[in-house]
Symmetry: C2
Subunit: 571 residues, 2 copies
Amino acid sequence: MGISYSSPLSPSLSTTTLNITHSSLFPCTSKANPGTISDSTFSHTNNISLNNLQKPTKKFGSFYYCSHNTTCLGSKIVPLKCFDKVREMETQEGIAQKPTIDIHGIDEELVQKMVDDALVWSSLHGLVVGDRSVQRSGKVPGVGMVHAPFSLLPVTFPESYWKLACEVAPIFNELIDRVSLDGKFLQDALSRTKKVDAFTSRLIDIHSKMLEINKSEDIRLGLHRSDYMLDEQTKLLLQIELNTISSSFPGLSCLVSDLHRSLLKYYGEHIGLDSSRIPGNTSVDKFAEALAKAWTEYNNPRALVLVVVQPEEHNMYDQHWLCAALKERHNVRTIRKTLAEIDKDGEILPDGTLLLGGKEISVVYFRAGYAPTDYPSEAEWRARVLMEQSSAVKCPSISYHLAGTKKIQQELAKPNMLERFLENKEDIAKLRKCFAGLWSLDDSDIIKKAIERPDLFVMKPQREGGGNNIYGDDVRTNLIRLQKEGSEEDAAYILMQRIFPMVSPTFLVREGICHKDHAISELGVYGAYLRNKEKVIINEQCGYLMRTKVSSSNEGGVAAGFAVLDSIYLN
Amino acid sequence: MGISYSSPLSPSLSTTTLNITHSSLFPCTSKANPGTISDSTFSHTNNISLNNLQKPTKKFGSFYYCSHNTTCLGSKIVPLKCFDKVREMETQEGIAQKPTIDIHGIDEELVQKMVDDALVWSSLHGLVVGDRSVQRSGKVPGVGMVHAPFSLLPVTFPESYWKLACEVAPIFNELIDRVSLDGKFLQDALSRTKKVDAFTSRLIDIHSKMLEINKSEDIRLGLHRSDYMLDEQTKLLLQIELNTISSSFPGLSCLVSDLHRSLLKYYGEHIGLDSSRIPGNTSVDKFAEALAKAWTEYNNPRALVLVVVQPEEHNMYDQHWLCAALKERHNVRTIRKTLAEIDKDGEILPDGTLLLGGKEISVVYFRAGYAPTDYPSEAEWRARVLMEQSSAVKCPSISYHLAGTKKIQQELAKPNMLERFLENKEDIAKLRKCFAGLWSLDDSDIIKKAIERPDLFVMKPQREGGGNNIYGDDVRTNLIRLQKEGSEEDAAYILMQRIFPMVSPTFLVREGICHKDHAISELGVYGAYLRNKEKVIINEQCGYLMRTKVSSSNEGGVAAGFAVLDSIYLN
């Protein structure tokens, strides 16, 4: 740390030429509206809970649909009470770039028609989630369904950034694979984290055990999602995080793109939008294809794909879409089991074959196991170890899982670190361009700066869940406390440049009700990677997820408002 | 009345050669199991409520999803407690024809897998209804959805009967059109009913008014559904009723056929069933096409199709599927309004043009207006009259509506009556073959017989709703009472031969739970008819609806158990 980045465009922090202004910390390529900083409650969140986020948030795979504060009266309504606030915010905080989609120009009757059509479309086309207010909705399919929350219109997104995000996906895939093979790097980088984070510590233990027994994974499957925000200040597309386990919404994200295309087909003319500018979204097909090819590489037609699930999963339909594609397009069967069930019914044969209830498992696809709450007892850890030891293809393996941790993200952002894993200089430059400023807390200079300007930083605990991020004055308070205590607790956090995305007025639809509010968006780009020994079988970008969230509360990360599924409109 | 039918195969009742045995009343063509009478709680129901039918039932277009008596615990289960009862019933009552699908042979684990798959399939493919236990589920799309109740497997149905039901559909279409043009016949036939049935009386008043003003309908659109049961005793496919208004389930019925085909594609081999034996079901496409062609005949590209709906509609997705097909395949827009809203916002221009909120309506498609409860005030009646007076195409017109009443069904079953409307003798013979015994209560011979053997008859009030039918000893009690009173109340009823359909063990899935029980089924065949003056544009059979219902209660019509959507498996 402490070495300045070479590129003036990179979100680096020079330790020698520091003066505490936002522009020097994160130099802008464009200064159309210098000094205007959009408030963000959304940046630096690991996961956007698609709901009332006052509940504890989980990573990627699940989200909350508990009752929102809105009182739900008889029918859906479009409360436009936020309208004045929107104007006010525009004046107070400024919007660096006028959105292409001017929702103020759309009349209320048309909005209501579109909302009705969108709700019907969602219901008929399986854009649904389990409704937390209905018993059994997280356990039994077909019971207690509600449309997934969605944005009525796609969010404008510059085509150049979209292309960049697509281009880097295969490079990130490759990077993760290379990093996963460097056991010593993973162990060393995570050694301090291990001491203060019990959950990561258990994962590292599994990793150590695999190193000890010299476990190799010939067939390696990665289904990743790299999340970005477009920073208004630096005009850079900055990576929030790279998910290597349980990347959620490959199923529903495609449907939202279809929904928006369908709406624009009928209403596009009225609002001046062209459905062809919503990029095609093939995440569910591509993920299914990757799982199917991994299954093919394993080479036992009778073997099953095991989907590791949480005991209660309100986002099950997203998962079911993927399994349906696997079944219908590739004739590959899946079986859904919790970690506890796997502990109970799983076994390994002497040759490494994983059996579950006597049936051979070729591929283990994790949609659980990423959070401490997924391991309430030793049974779940036993199941994880059992699968890791087996010869089944793990998506992800423990190495892939660790390679996606925040600490590793921060380590990879260090100067010259990418060069350790990648050869192609252009590739390296592209990745680096996407890196936000990332620092460990053993860097005293950056601590000093963060205490002076806490509004420009986010403290992110290694522990998953955007709700745990620390913003604003709390950054200062916590940093001072950690300095005083002098404990190792600082290793549990990284510091990240705070990103200030564009705020746009948006129609957000949830529980049949449309709300107009200011919102910010986060782009996730899916990547699939499959190799068997030296043969790379798949390495591609495969679709995207846009999530949009009300940006009405100033602090507290994702603690206020709710996020909805969205798509992008290229401009 | 009182004249015996010519064909020995017809379900006639000879007044001269009467002896009170079932076989003589309704002669069998086959006597494989003479003397075995399957109990039926299903026959003679106007509508099969897909739910707990202790609630008041409505006709065709809606059904109840209120809480079933089953206690819903954590997860879906397959209670096989009925198994012993099933065996017992086989012994007590006999089953005339062994079903092709032997569900006893399917192991429990396989059933659970199929149930899971079916629930997921339903959720992803829009085979859903509003869940009555969730607020707003009947008003706002996308909120409070639950899978539509379905039978896990299709019901075996002899191909010859299926073909007959398809063949007669266009003949019934033609018949209804002819009858609708004979205003005097309708008025005369319904004159006694008018005196005792307030609802039918209001419909007849509208009809009279249209006759007075010499209102003619050049473009006539019928979207009918003729419902049948296969009588085990006579081996005849007997018509229960012909729905000319608000024929429900054109949307969901197609999906159930798809669901069953999908299940058989994956599990068919294990249970010895071939998915290709489920006939294609195109009801939603054909109905949409008929509506679109009527819209085309009306010839105003800017005009809308008005869907008349109930204020609360838990079967809205069935309707939305039809409207989606109209929009996506034919680019025809629909607008949904209640009768009260139409009264408020509707008007007729001097040239007869129907406007709703200033927008021209080309076709009025009724999914409400068939039951007295649809007209809680004069406003609704005003709306009905307004639409009838307009030049919009009505589906159905008041004449089509009346032509589908039970009284007219009974009148048409009288000897030589079909000859009044149709010329082709073969066509007439085919229709007559499907007529169950139907009598008015002014026939003293049949009253005598029904008092002696009430188990062989059903008393059906003109009033809609299967829950109002009278069975068993109640037939005797009511007939004796009516005889004593000597009032005109007898005109409110018709008597119908009781049909005894085959009872088969069936898996019924509702609210995520699979129940095994004995069930009976009713086949509905959709027909579409469109003409413009002398030009017949459409006259065809277009898909089917199978409904299956537990047959566990001996009496009380549809008062016990619940019905589910089903499809047919030809053998």
